[in-house]
Amino acid sequence: MSATLVSPKAFVSEYPTWCPGCGDFGVLNALRSAAARLGLQPHQIVVVSGIGCSGKINSYFNSYGLHTLHGRSLPVAQGVKLANPELTVIASGGDGDGYGIGAGHFMHAVRRNVDITYIVMDNQVYGLTKGQTSPTSPTGFVSPTTPQGSADGPVRPLRVALANECSWIAQGFSGNIRQLTELMVQAISHKGFSLLNVQSPCVTWRPTILENGEKVGVYEWFKKHLHNLEEDPDYDPTSKAAAYAKLLEHGDLVTGVLYRDERPSFREHLKGYTDRPMADLATKPDNEALEGLAAQFR
């Protein structure tokens, strides 16, 4: 693969309909840069997305795209990858999509360890349906569906992934595209399931965060609170205990690679499984093979 052939512009299709200032612009730009840096061509990538503002990403990213159902990007993406291991498969969605309605698929995709990358644009709010509480909204979050403040505790996706031994876990921030691009390159290169949770602020429905009785701008708040693991030379991302300690220490507000291991991906456990596109196998077995199969019924 040559890293110089493709420009990020090759992955530009339409101009997004996201609100100006939306964190998802940062995710889109980082993904275009990462794809270019990996030397990928648009036809080699499939972006499978869920529903929500984040799900629109494949309308704006020039590659094969499959925009599916709310919460269902992961099973579809796994099916795509299993049917054609030559494709680079990226699943994407938001916190409502992936950690709410699709949470069951998330946990099982983590443990199945199919070689896909899952990019979640986490903004702690439902955007496209206009500002309701999401699974990652903090307790007490006031919204049209929780006028008295949300009673639920938030889902902690990084901890869920770690508990199920996700083979690659990182968090990025839309306000740091340089780091986000680097994380995407690593996530896509990882052989196995990689989770990249991105703090991708919603400037329309969650423009500020209340801190000590004062409203702080959402970007400013994240910049202030996010702890970059890369700045800690002693941090060992191959230690589950160290990873969990960091999450507890910083209330999950970390960026960088949290955890990685090299356990075998799904396909490495299988015997006989093709490494070619399965489209080539969609044929009738020869008569000898069919007779061999029929013999068990005689």
Partner: protein, 586 residues
């Protein structure tokens, strides 16, 4: 001598009753008889009554026997086995029971009870498990079946375990056989004539036949969730598909299962999922995804008793409405209904061609009796399986298009050429939002109308037979049904016609798009019709009325968890025929 016999083994669930049942069936198949097996069981691992009925005949049989001639019962749960099965016993039937059982027959019963010390003999031979083979030997003595077929099966099954195990099994067969002859003599009225020049046919469960058909039809991807009565499909494919480069994924639920199959089809594989009612309900949303994104997918739905968890181990055809109408919104789809084991094979293979050519979901509608039942398949013709991947463009044909590629191009037949991801020059978006002909999200009223019409007209012409007729038209009565009800209808028609009636059978082979012309033509050839179906509300009859017009046809509806028996079809058919005669006289 007889040319037909119904044998059954019953006992307590969890004691391995299905094993002697399938051994008996396989041995009879090896002897050249036609067979039909059905297992009655409950949704629990241990306890409760279970039985396995095997019908053995010189001619093809397509249904359970109306009554049982020979019943073998184990020591555990003997009284329940007697109580459950006595009503089904032929008046001159025989029960072969373990000598250690404490159960008894009612004094008035005409049934003969033979007590054979299955377990004592087994213990003498060296292990309790041998009782199965003692019972097989005893069954041979009662029915005159050739013990050699059982010995051959033992050799085939236990040969790997060594000569000692094989010899012990032989001894078990012989001791059971001799015990019956020495203590009870022969039963001339139960002797079944041997088949001259026996032919080795196939003996298959519908689930296995469907799984085999899928593999033969190019399917290399299955994602599914275990569920009775469809699990056998998954288990067979998990064993065989990797030998052909494929993969079987056990999904976390049926939502994921169908979505993985859709993803695999999108990427170019032939992929499917297999399930039963509860799982099929979970798949409804994804059916719409396949429909709107025009992505092929095959779903095998082995129906069981519903609703909710319902009757997990009992047959029903209660999902007809859901298969035909299910999922919000409107999508093109095809629903096929095999009625025999060989049709399970051919139809599932054909389903992949239909899914690829029409780019929509194709549902293979089976039911528990068909899926888990087991019977003779005369032969399978590999030439009848062909592969048609439909309109598919590769990189070279894309360069020759002369215009930008449109994934959802507006064509006359509604079918637009597909490009698989990975193909240079064909990059496009496909979205489950309504979209334009290129694939971009749209809310344009004009585009919506046109692209919705385009999708729906894709199934105007479906290359698959709509009905299968058996018998001559014109007839007095047309029996109408699908799936596992087909066999009982055929047998009922044969019996009635032997008595001078004029009865034909119309099997619905393609439930959707409903074959209006073919069905209407068949109906016109009969004075009256009777729709036999496995549900309470007459879903098939109502579908016929909605599609073909006219009055709701008379029905025979069964929803008590028991498979259709030919005798009950005969009985209802005679009532309907009498009504016709009386109406004529009046």
């Amino acid at each position: 001598m007889r040319t037909e016999l119904v044998w059954k083994v019953g006992g307590q669930q969890g004691s391995g009753i299905e094993k002697p049942g399938s051994v008996f069936l396989d041995a009879c198949s090896r002897l050249g008889y036609y067979t039909f097996g059905y297992r009655h069981f409950m949704s629990r691992i241990m306890g409760g009554h279970t039985n396995y009925q095997v019908r053995v005949s010189h001619r093809p049989v397509f249904a359970m026997g109306d009554c049982t001639d020979v019943l073998v019962i184990d020591r555990e749960g003997a009284q329940e086995a007697i109580d459950m099965n006595l009503p089904e016993m032929a008046p001159d039937g025989v029960i072969v029971a373990d000598a250690g059982m404490e159960a008894a027959l009612p004094e008035s019963s005409s049934i003969q009870l033979l007590k054979v010390p299955f377990h004592d003999i087994a213990a003498e031979i060296g292990g309790d498990l041998y009782w199965n083979m003692v019972a097989m030997g005893a069954s041979c003595a009662v029915t005159g079946l050739d013990r050699q077929a059982f010995r051959d099966l033992v050799q085939a099954t236990f040969g790997r375990k060594g000569e000692k195990v094989v010899q012990a099994n032989y001894e078990a067969i012989d001791r059971g056989y001799r015990y019956v002859l020495d203590h009870f003599g022969t039963f001339s009225h139960l002797q079944i004539a041997p088949v001259r020049e026996p032919k080795r046919r196939l003996t298959m469960e519908g689930d296995n036949a469907a799984a085999f058909g899928a593999l033969a039809g190019g399917c290399r991807f299955l994602a599914a969730y275990p569920i009775t009565p469809a699990s056998m499909i998954m288990e067979w494919m998990a064993r065989e598909v990797p030998k052909f480069g494929g993969v079987v994924v056990q999904a976390e639920d049926e939502i994921s299962a169908i979505l993985m199959a859709i993803g695999a089809n999108y990427a170019g594989a032939r992929g499917m999922t297999s399930t039963s009612g509860p799982g099929f309900s979970l798949m409804q949303e994804a059916l719409g995804l396949s429909g709107l994104t025009e992505t092929p997918v095959v779903i095998v739905n082995v129906q069981r008793g519903g609703p909710a968890t319902g009757l997990p181990t009992k047959p029903e055809q209660g999902d007809i409405n859901e298969m035909v109408y299910g999922s919000h919104g409107e999508i093109p789809r095809v629903v096929l209904a095999p009625g025999t084991y060989d049709e399970c094979f051919y139809d599932t293979a054909a389903a992949f061609n239909l899914a690829d050519t029409h780019q929509c979901p194709v549902i293979v509608a089976m039911d528990l009796t068909l899926g888990m039942g087991k019977g003779t398949v005369e032969s399978l013709d590999w030439n009848r399986v062909r592969i048609d991947r439909g309109k598919l463009l590769d990189a070279q044909s894309l360069t020759q298009l002369g215009a930008p590629y449109q994934r959802f191009e507006e064509t006359e037949d509604g079918i637009s050429p597909r490009v698989l991801p990975g193909t240079p020059g064909g990059v496009h978006l496909n979205t489950a939002d309504e979209h334009d002909f290129v694939g971009r999200i749209t809310e344009s009223q004009d585009t919506r109308r046109r692209i919705h019409d385009k999708r729906l007209r894709k199934v105007q012409q479906v290359d698959f037979p709509g009905v299968a007729l058996r018998g001559d038209l014109p007839a007095d009565l047309l029996l109408v049904g699908m799936g596992s009800v087909t066999g009982p209808m055929w047998e009922a028609a044969d019996r009635l016609n032997t008595k001078g009636a004029r009865v034909a059978v119309c099997q619905i082979r393609r439930v959707w798009p409903f074959p209006v012309e073919e069905f209407t033509a068949a109906l016109a050839g009969a004075k009256v019709a009777l729709v036999c179906e496995h549900n309470a509300t007459g879903q098939l009859a109502h579908l016929i009325r909605a599609q073909c017009g006219g009055d709701l046809l008379p029905g025979l509806r069964k929803y008590d968890g028991d498979p259709f028996r030919p005798a009950e079809v005969v009985q209802r058919a005679e009532e309907v025929l009498a009504d016709v005669r009386n109406a004529r006289i009046a």
